[in-house]
């Protein structure tokens, strides 16, 4: 029995390492594609993983303005949120509602991260993360639309539905688009990335360095893996998700598409970013209402 428990622990750690390495490489690929499109050589694809390791071993000191214990606990909360999302979503295929809750928790992490640092740039990043909660509104409506179609919010059931009826992306293209905008808003240098806009240095991460930044970067790598996996599982289904190699390929294609958009579009101002996301939410809500009315 104890050996069995040990196996579960090893499996959990191995999956986390896998998710971080894949997420880190994809974020590195994202930077490389953006750089090549903009005519720059760009960093090596390994750069994200290298940075994470570098920060992990760097000396840490606490800024005099930092509000402890939130300042250092927030990095641990961030990694806990995304590891929970990894196990509950990708490993156990549980409910989309739990994942939505964890995604909302990430906003609290970003806000807390910025405010606890005491830096004006960090605070501004934290405040902008509250604005960018507008990106979650399409998520609520997307979940509603998916429920109307599949009569379930359990990821396993949604994948099984697609085994019979084919990929949901063809039946609910607008819902897929709205979810894709959510993915886009989470990507670095995207038109909706107001939280980490360079005009506010590194946004909510400005004053987090050393091991704390490394932990947040690990969490961001896992987050990227989880979000891409959810998109593939919910909208394309077993065609891609049943084989880990096909899942990897799907993730590379999605990341490349997002990188292309990020490289070719300017960063929106916070009010424009929120307005566009609210517009997409309104259209998704209209789609949901129409489906309810039409039965």
């Amino acid at each position: 029995m104890e050996l069995y428990n040990l196996k579960y622990v090893i499996d959990a750690l191995a999956y986390s390492l896998y998710a971080f390495l894949v997420g880190g490489l994809l974020l590195g690929l994202h930077r490389k594609i953006v750089a090549r499109i903009q005519g720059r050589p760009g960093p090596p694809i390994l750069q994200y993983i290298l940075h994470t390791l570098k920060f992990y071993f760097k000396e840490i000191s606490f800024p005099i303005t930092a509000g402890n214990p939130l300042y250092f606990l927030i990095a641990l909360i961030s990694i806990t949120v995304w590891m929970s999302a990894l196990y509950l979503g990708v490993v156990f295929n549980t409910s989309l509602l739990i994942l939505m809750g964890l995604y909302v928790l990430q906003k609290i992490v970003e806000h807390g991260c910025g405010l606890s640092s005491g830096s004006p740039y960090g605070k501004l990043g934290g405040v902008r993360s509250v604005f960018s909660a507008a990106a979650e509104v399409p998520l609520f409506t997307v979940i509603g639309i998916i429920y109307l179609l599949t009569k379930s919010l359990i990821i396993e059931d949604i994948i099984r539905y697609q085994e019979i009826h084919g990929p949901i992306i063809f039946q609910l293209p607008f819902a897929a688009f709205a979810f894709f905008v959510l993915l886009l808003s989470k990507a670095p240098n995207s038109p909706f990335a107001i939280v980490k806009d360079k005009s506010i240095v590194s946004g909510y991460l400005t004053e987090h360095f050393g091991i704390l930044e490394s932990l947040i970067m690990i969490a961001d790598g896992i987050a990227w893996f989880v979000l891409l996996w959810i998109f593939l599982a919910v909208f394309i289904g077993p065609l891609v998700v049943s084989d880990p190699l096909m899942t990897l390929l799907g993730m590379v294609v999605l990341t490349s598409l997002i990188s292309l958009i990020c490289a070719l579009t300017p960063l929106l101002t916070p009010n424009h970013s929120v307005m566009i996301q609210i517009l997409i939410s309104a259209l998704a809500l209209l789609d949901l209402l129409l489906r309810i009315v039409m039965g």
Binding site: Y18, L21, I45, L46, V91, N93
Partner: protein, 105 residues
């Protein structure tokens, strides 16, 4: 419950380790920050070996992590370096994989 893809994990860890080796090697070997059309013979040898090893059916599928480790060396080299070597290695690997698939039929 999703099974942990241990085989893919081994492959990705090998690729990253190879990349680290390539990056360290290229920073020690070359001082210029960005040079195109420069072929490094060690990186080319590593890429060709990696490409040849990829389709070989070795026991426990060990050819994939080994091949990715060797391909990781040009893959991880500093910007501008290792491009031609990587393209050569990946082309050999794909060609070998296709030929193996045809023979397998």
């Amino acid at each position: 419950m999703e099974e942990v893809p241990y085989h893919l994990l081994c492959c990705i860890v090998s690729l990253v380790m190879g990349g680290f080796l390539g990056l360290t090697y290229s920073y020690k070997r070359y001082l210029k920050p960005y040079v195109e059309r420069c072929i490094d013979r060690w990186a080319l040898l590593s890429a060709i070996l990696g490409g040849v090893l990829f389709p070989l059916p070795l026991p426990y599928g060990i050819n994939y992590p080994l091949s990715l480790f060797l391909l990781g060396v040009p893959f991880g080299m500093r910007p501008g370096y290792g491009r031609i070597e990587l393209i050569t290695g990946v082309s050999i690997a794909i060609l070998g994989y296709l030929i193996r698939g045809l023979i397998g039929r």
